[in-house]
């Protein structure tokens, strides 16, 4: 594997007294696509929240690009180039598309902002057409594009996408996976949480399977894809 970008060791996290995640070890290499699969309630979103700093790890370490980040504030982690596009999208409903995107580049200079915005509009022409529209009036799919676009505005080294295909039509899901590969081709590593297991295993290089808050399987995506026993046992396919 190439240089390690994200390295998680012995991580535990949860809400109040209830521990959701334990004994989590995970690595993402620079420029790699890694999938995290698992059923509802397995703890996938909790893992994402812990990595991006909105939830505190109770044990273990998270290193990103050589820095220990498990005690850092979300804003600091974003500034390091680790961006989490959450499951709920969380676009700013009262702001226009353009303002939403600009806030994604909040910590970059004006020149960066213009360049990033041009790049995002090239990827999502539909957002460009509606740049002055309030985000709250966008369709679910458009909000998902905006959430990803806002993430790209921050010039990520690692982009975490939490169920980006949720609520998208089959055609849009196709487009989404093409987009994921395009983002990756530009050198961005991705941690991809998905329910679309089959497509996810096609774009990912490696995959982890989460069950009851801990990883029960990890390996090369191609190996998992090719092994019907593994797929049946862990992914219900």
């Amino acid at each position: 594997m190439s240089e390690v970008l994200l390295a998680i060791n012995g991580l535990a996290a949860g809400y109040g007294a209830s521990e959701v995640l334990r004994d989590i070890d995970l690595e993402v290499g620079a420029g790699e696509i890694v999938a995290v699969l698992g059923s509802n309630g397995a703890g996938k979103s909790t893992l994402n929240r812990t990595i991006s700093g909105v939830l505190r790890a109770t044990r273990g370490s998270i290193r990103f690009a050589g820095h220990a980040i498990e005690r850092e504030k979300p804003a600091k982690i974003v500034a390091r180039g680790l961006i989490h596009v959450p499951e709920a999208r969380c676009v700013f409903p009262n702001l226009t598309i353009e303002e939403n995107l600009d806030l994604g580049s909040y910590r970059r200079g004006r020149a960066h902002r213009e360049r990033n915005r041009a790049r995002v509009f090239a990827i999502f022409p539909r957002l460009a057409e509606r740049r002055a529209q309030r985000a709250g009036t966008l369709s679910g799919g458009e909000q998902q594009m905006l959430a990803i676009g806002r993430g790209l505005m921050a010039e990520p080294q690692l982009l975490i996408l939490d169920e980006p295909s949720l609520g998208l039509s089959p055609r849009l899901v196709e487009e989404l996976f093409a987009l994921i590969q395009r983002i990756n081709a530009a050198g961005v590593a991705l941690l991809l949480v998905e329910q679309n297991v089959v497509q996810c295993l096609e774009v990912a290089r490696r995959a982890y399977v989460l069950e009851g808050g801990t990883f029960v399987l990890h390996g090369n995506a191609a190996d998992i894809r090719a092994d019907p026993n593994l797929k049946r046992a862990y992914l219900g396919l």
Partner: protein, 290 residues
């Protein structure tokens, strides 16, 4: 009774008073809209600002309008520091705690003022306090006309900050989508503190506009904040334009009730209206429907 000769000056005077009410409400509604808490220290901070304006003149000979230039940034810094280093850390992210912390802060500030300055009521005697402006249909008190103009200018500046600056956009973003803001790299604790600072700075300006024609004592702020709270509910919790228009409206209601029911009953109209709004349109006249 409805003769324009009486009615027009009453309405105009109501608008002038209402503008300053609106400014106090603006600070309250801004903090509510972003932090989602009612700042119980708002009245005490207004009192503190009025004392500051009073002694800036008494001790330093500074005209209140000039003092505003210094007190506004000072109170911005005070509000910023209170939220960042006292209210935020003491609340541990629980809205219920924030409420109690601001209440405690109000008690501390009021009692400190009472201890230092006593319960006496004080007034400044400024040369221009009783100057009037002849607008044809009425004679208006000069300090209140100035106050009206300043409030409109402040509201415009605040609106521009919120609409155009990066900080303003971040404030609006945090108001509606805190998690999305955190994940976009916005320092939410800083944005909260800036908002609290802006709300407190509004009080410093209001204090400097009030002190030429008003008196100050350790409880004075509460009277204004009660009215401001009515305005915030009337204008829609968290709505900046609502606060301004609501302020003007309440000023006129108070003035007309004073005219028809007698000076001492002027404020009764406000509270009757408050209860009517709560009964008929709880989201406020300008707020979004829940």
């Amino acid at each position: 009774m409805l003769s324009p000769i009486i009615l027009v000056p009453a309405v105009l005077n109501g608008l002038l008073t209402g503008a300053v009410y609106g400014l106090v409400a603006l600070g309250l509604t801004l903090i509510y809209g972003v932090l989602h808490i009612i700042n119980f220290a708002h009245g005490a901070l207004l009192t503190a600002a009025m004392f500051a304006a009073f002694f800036a003149h008494r001790l330093l000979g500074l005209d209140p309008y000039l003092a505003a230039l210094g007190l506004t940034p000072l109170f911005f810094a005070l509000g910023y520091g209170l939220q960042r280093f006292v209210i935020g850390p003491a609340a541990h992210g629980e809205d219920r705690n924030i409420l109690l912390v601001t209440l405690a802060l109000a008690v501390v500030i009021e009692n400190a003022l009472l201890y230092v300055f006593g319960a006496d009521t004080r007034t400044l005697n400024l040369a221009y306090a009783f100057d009037v402006v002849d607008v044809g249909v009425a004679f208006l008190a000069l300090p209140r006309v100035i106050g009206f103009g300043v409030v409109l200018a402040v509201a415009l500046v605040l609106w521009l900050i919120l609409a155009l600056t990066d900080t303003g956009k971040a404030i609006r973003a945090v108001a509606k989508e805190k998690l999305g803001a955190e994940l976009s790299g916005i320092d939410v604790a800083h944005v909260y503190a800036v908002t609290f600072g802006l709300g407190t700075a509004c009080l410093a300006i209001a204090a400097c506009l009030l002190i030429p024609t008003y008196y100050v004592n350790p409880h004075i702020g509460n009277a204004f904040v009660l009215v401001a709270f009515t305005i915030v509910v009337l204008g829609g919790m968290g709505s900046v334009t609502g606060a301004l228009i609501g302020g003007l409206f309440v000023g006129v209601v108070e003035s007309l009730c004073g005219l028809y029911l007698g000076e001492s009953l002027g404020q009764i109209g406000i509270f009757i209206m408050f209860i009517l709004v709560l009964l008929l349109r709880p989201s406020g006249l300008f707020g979004e429907r829940a």
